[in-house]
Subunit: 429 residues, 2 copies
Amino acid sequence: MDTTTNPHLRSFIEVNADSHFPIQNLPYGCFRPKSGDFTRVGVRIGDWVVDLSVLEKEGFFEKTGLGDHRVFHQPTLNSFMANGRVIWREVREILSNLLRHDNPKLRDNNDLRSEVIIPVNDVELQLPVEIGDYTDFYSSREHATNVGIMFRGKENALMPNWLHLPVAYHGRASSVVLSGTDIRRPWGQIKNDDAQFPEYTPCRLLDFELEMGFFIGPGNPLGTPIPVSKATEHIFGMVLVNDWSARDIQKWEYQPLGPFLGKNFATSVSPWVVTLEALSPFKCTGPVQEPRPLPYLNITPNQTYDIQLEIFLQGQNMSDRHRLSHSNFRYLYWNIQQQLAHHTVNGCNLRTGDLLASGTISGAEAEAFGSMLELAWKGTKPLRFPNGEERRFLHDGDSVTMTGWCQGPGYRVGFGEVSGKILPASKLL
Amino acid sequence: MDTTTNPHLRSFIEVNADSHFPIQNLPYGCFRPKSGDFTRVGVRIGDWVVDLSVLEKEGFFEKTGLGDHRVFHQPTLNSFMANGRVIWREVREILSNLLRHDNPKLRDNNDLRSEVIIPVNDVELQLPVEIGDYTDFYSSREHATNVGIMFRGKENALMPNWLHLPVAYHGRASSVVLSGTDIRRPWGQIKNDDAQFPEYTPCRLLDFELEMGFFIGPGNPLGTPIPVSKATEHIFGMVLVNDWSARDIQKWEYQPLGPFLGKNFATSVSPWVVTLEALSPFKCTGPVQEPRPLPYLNITPNQTYDIQLEIFLQGQNMSDRHRLSHSNFRYLYWNIQQQLAHHTVNGCNLRTGDLLASGTISGAEAEAFGSMLELAWKGTKPLRFPNGEERRFLHDGDSVTMTGWCQGPGYRVGFGEVSGKILPASKLL
């Protein structure tokens, strides 16, 4: 029994019931205090950040497998993530204990407490992980079907391979940015259906994609696949992902080698990495998989997580943000163990810090679609907003925010937000 | 006038006329002396490696823009590559001068010379660059046409976008390995045309792809494209690339998002990075581009390099290697400036160390095809070898070696080799 997820656990730090960050969560991130000079690792609780570099210096983790190895006085989580689940659990238990309402050790040590517990408004968050390779899956049956219907018709909506393997492609690691980073509308080569030649123009069909991603802890050597039954040993935790997409650039370029410039101008991730430990009370079963996957992909039951997801949009002339969608991570057909096993079945090596994202997470109903392409059905059903504006795709000045959380009895374990605002395209090159 | 490429230049180090590494070349690599304890940067000349970490320590580069900044006491070229062309040229001139037959400074300093000039057989070469992102283009018109004919028929061989933009996709950086690394035959999901369901099996259609790649020196900020006219300022140098391919895995998985497990089990690169300075005497014009590319891709003339390329195969029961192909880098339709400009036109950021590869380099004649898929025409025209063996695709135990060089008057500026041997698939998972 993992005591760190006990619903009755309380901290001496006050946390609202609708906060994403109660003591049951304790997600990891990287930050620089506005008054400080280096980036270090922290854990979020309520509206506070716990500075682990100080706790480490003070010897709080010396009895774990980390010993006196410094992993929190680091600008990314990679060193810590490389250590594996045994040590992740040891550290989590120490933190969970230290933050309990009935443990005086930190609570009543005013000097230490003021050094270690920092208001989140007093820190600058950073990208939490140094990402080596970024892979994007395409694991929502509803999304793949919607896109298939729009571009190939109902008869051939799902490709023949789709129900047999978790389709994926390599994305761009260099342009993964932290939530809050503005997104510049990209230029690109676009060809209208009725035009003879392509043109060079700013993207007109700019879109978001609601996704989640997970980070690799310990990797695998080249040539040595990770069996599906051991996949979670290699998964540290999860974040929200917005895979910004330029639909018109993508449409013209993607045959036959897949998306490239239509995707690699930016991918946003949320700052707090929620561990599989924190998610474990919210395990649930995913969709029935029929035909039954090949043995290397087969894991029974199809275990996933019940994570509610929402998308909000606020145009620059709107007084408030408006909800566009309410989806759930559990809708995904392929689970994260299967994604990881498939990725390595050919011997491909994963490294600590690699990001594997889910692909757009759409549900069966239009209210649960995960992209503007689907929500406005290729522009044919524009979304209407209270101030009279319409959207087929994103306008300059639009802010898109995605959020996700697991609902427990009286508390939430959440991911915070991933957000980004569209800036107008730059002047002609 | 760049004196470092003068054909009459000679070194006090003896170099055969058919060596790839005369004083006009001076390519960079990373190595650990077999007697040494750390990896450092060196330059190759003839059968010797010049240890730049020692020259740096001795102050030989202090008068360059590097000052006392240490870039050669490093396990990769990244620190040096980040400095840009002005400094690359300063260092090259110092090295070129120092190694001249008529300069006594190093030649007659026996102590320093024995410390700095190391036989290449006494070192262990390492992957020269820490690669952030790896992009693979598809820039040979002949290759794209051949593949198109085989899979879609003559009428639709080239996709409509192909003549308008350099098609590319993101590859896997983690599995880029140094020449000489054995290649394990991958397992994967494969579906035969006449089968109802896919099976899980070792790859049966294992292939190579003859490519070249270039490494990024200074990168660009996210959101700021690099104009085609400034592209070479960001390119440090080039290597040979073998993009190993599992054709049967690729065929089943690649729709609609492109190649993934069919490619990412291994990509081999040659150890010595040949600079654009060393290649400059071998500039030539590439194919005529019609229709004329859009302005952001337009550079006149279509400038490329005359680099002869060969592929050899030796099976484990063959007494010698046999040449399969003789191609040339100049056959590529899209040049490296266009590839780089296209990659960044949407604001995508490149970082120091990124690898951009060409795609398979095929010529017009069957003798110049760059993959087994094309050479044996999808298995319909097996290659025959003197010992009676045939090949449609690669067998276990086959060694594939690719080589490339520019032919000058009485000397060659070359890339050495990229080689790899196929190991049998591992036992069932």
